[in-house]
């Protein structure tokens, strides 16, 4: 289905409200919506609710052969999917632009920032490494998918436990959860994305735009930071700002 068009009346009202520093749900410029994180029964499963935007994250692992040029490092794989129940506009074939942009941002934020220690995922150098796969599903779209997805990914990775493995000479023993407790992943830091939306060629700024505000924004700036005040990723998109 095509998404509901934005009428001139709504656009004008939203821009005027932003000029008067008022948001539809009564937040201030720098206010975030309520974040709620709940965990599933499996290790590595979590649901993040940012206002009404909901993302489900699930982490799983598998023993595979490593990449040829990185024989001693594990593999991290991220996948974000926009489910059809998130918004009427999301159809199986039609979401490519937004999907590619979000996936690339997720990869840069989490893989290139080296938040997970991939060397610790190596079991037998050159033969067996752990492949950690993070699947994120968007369940409801009410704006700011990136922030919710980055929180879901890092929370799921922190919650996940992989099976314990011991290597003796040439023998590799993989223990089931009943035999030995599963082991958490080694995480250096937790990068989280924060989105800033710009309006009227950069004159006005809002943090955590919801779906209506995203429709009328001119530009978007996403900064991924961690607790140690390090910037992991920064991306700016949209029309030019003055």
């Amino acid at each position: 289905m095509k998404e509901t068009p934005l009428s001139n009346c709504e656009r004008r009202f939203l821009l005027r409200a932003i000029e008067e520093k008022k948001r539809l749900d009564g937040r201030q410029t720098y206010d975030y919506r309520n974040i709620r994180i709940s965990f599933g029964t499996d290790y590595g499963c979590c649901i993040v609710e940012l206002g009404k935007t909901r993302v489900l994250g699930q982490v799983s692992c598998e023993l595979v052969s490593p990449k040829l040029n990185r024989a001693t490092e594990g593999i991290l794989f991220f996948n974000l999917e926009l489910s059809q129940m998130a918004a009427p506009a999301f159809e199986p074939g039609r979401q490519s632009d937004l999907l590619v942009k979000l996936n690339r941002l997720m990869e840069r934020c989490l893989r290139n920032s080296k938040c997970i220690d991939t060397e610790s995922l190596c079991v037998v150098a050159g033969e067996k490494v752990w492949q950690i796969r993070v699947d994120l599903h968007l369940l409801n779209h009410d704006g700011n998918i990136i922030d919710a997805a980055s929180i879901a990914a890092i929370v799921a990775l922190c919650h996940f436990r992989r099976p314990d493995v011991s290597v003796q000479g040439d023998e590799v023993t993989l223990y089931t959860p009943e035999e030995r407790d599963p082991v958490p992943l080694s995480i250096h830091h937790m990068p989280i994305c924060v989105s800033f939306a710009f309006f009227q060629q950069g004159t006005y700024l809002l943090v955590d735009p919801n779906e209506r505000e995203e429709r009328v924004m001119d530009g978007l700036l996403v900064i991924a930071m961690n607790k140690h005040r390090e910037i992991c990723t920064i991306q700016s998109s949209g029309s030019e700002m003055q």
Partner: protein, 273 residues
């Protein structure tokens, strides 16, 4: 595992259709069958009952019952097609058995002939506009169906329109007009430029449009405002300042889940400030 399922199936198959009168106000589920009042005596205790044929020339006492949304006629019973509460309305004058319908929660609108809705103009093609009304297809609106239609005063793409459906069935794309049968606008047409449009559930709109709704009267006492309700779940509201408009929009959205006491508290607090 098989046992509880078979017991449940048996109880469903063996349950008799209930009388509509006894189920009023309760939740009914799709697939249930309801008996109309005059059939209750016939179905009486047990199954097949032998009734002597009455030989007097008394006219058959059949009342005309109207089957509303969520119900369908199935043989001589009513079949429930939506889940919700069963409601009944007595006939206003004289004959007829009244109306039965199912009150259900829904956000997705299905065009119905005669409904007044708020639409957004999406495209111009030929000499009709395509208007998005929230249904499965955009409705078509002719250039000429406005009062005093001229080349100058046509709506543009992106404008809000308040109109009425003249054709709305599941096989054809719906058609709407902004003019009533006498040729007058009667409040329909292009909605003004300012104001806020937001979406609520269909049940809330019906509640707000009921003749004796207190919410609208209380809201009217708060601030001077203009408000348009579309049966497709869209409400357009405009007050003097943006702050007042936002307050009104948030109150109307919250009204769905508040009791009347909570509502009165909020209104009195707002009236003071």
């Amino acid at each position: 595992m098989a046992e509880p399922a078979s017991v449940a199936a048996e109880s469903l198959a063996g349950s008799r259709a209930r009388a509509a009168r006894t189920v009023l106000g309760q939740v009914v589920l799709p697939g249930e069958e309801l008996l109309l009042p005059e059939q209750e005596d016939a179905e009486g205790p047990g199954g097949a009952v032998e009734r002597p044929l009455s030989l007097n020339a008394r006219a058959c006492s059949r009342v005309r019952v109207v089957c509303g949304p969520g119900l369908r006629r199935c043989g001589d019973r009513l079949l429930v097609t939506k889940c919700g509460r069963l409601r009944h309305k007595e006939p206003g004058s004289g004959s007829g058995g009244g109306v039965y319908w199912v009150d259900s929660q829904q956000k997705r609108y299905v065009p119905v002939k005669g409904d007044h809705v708020i639409g957004i103009v999406t495209a111009k093609s030929g000499d009709i506009f395509k208007v998005d009304v929230g249904g499965s297809e955009p409705a078509s609106l002719s250039y000429l169906s406005f009062e005093g239609a001229t080349k100058r005063n046509r709506p543009n793409v992106g404008d809000l329109i308040y109109g009425q459906f003249v054709v709305a069935n599941k096989d054809m794309e719906p058609e709407m007009v902004c003019i009533d049968s006498c040729g007058r606008a009667n409040g329909m047409g292009v909605i003004g430029q300012d104001g806020l449009l937001f979406k609520v559930t269909l049940g809330l709109i019906r509640k707000l449009l009921a003749p004796d709704c207190e919410i609208i009267q209380e809201v009217g006492k708060l601030y001077p405002l203009e408000i348009v309700f579309g049966m497709n779940g869209r409400i357009w509201v405009k007050a003097k300042t943006i702050q007042q408009t936002l307050i009104l929009a948030n109150i109307l959205e919250a009204c769905e889940h508040m009791t009347s006491d909570q509502r009165k508290q909020i209104f009195s607090r707002l009236a003071e400030s």
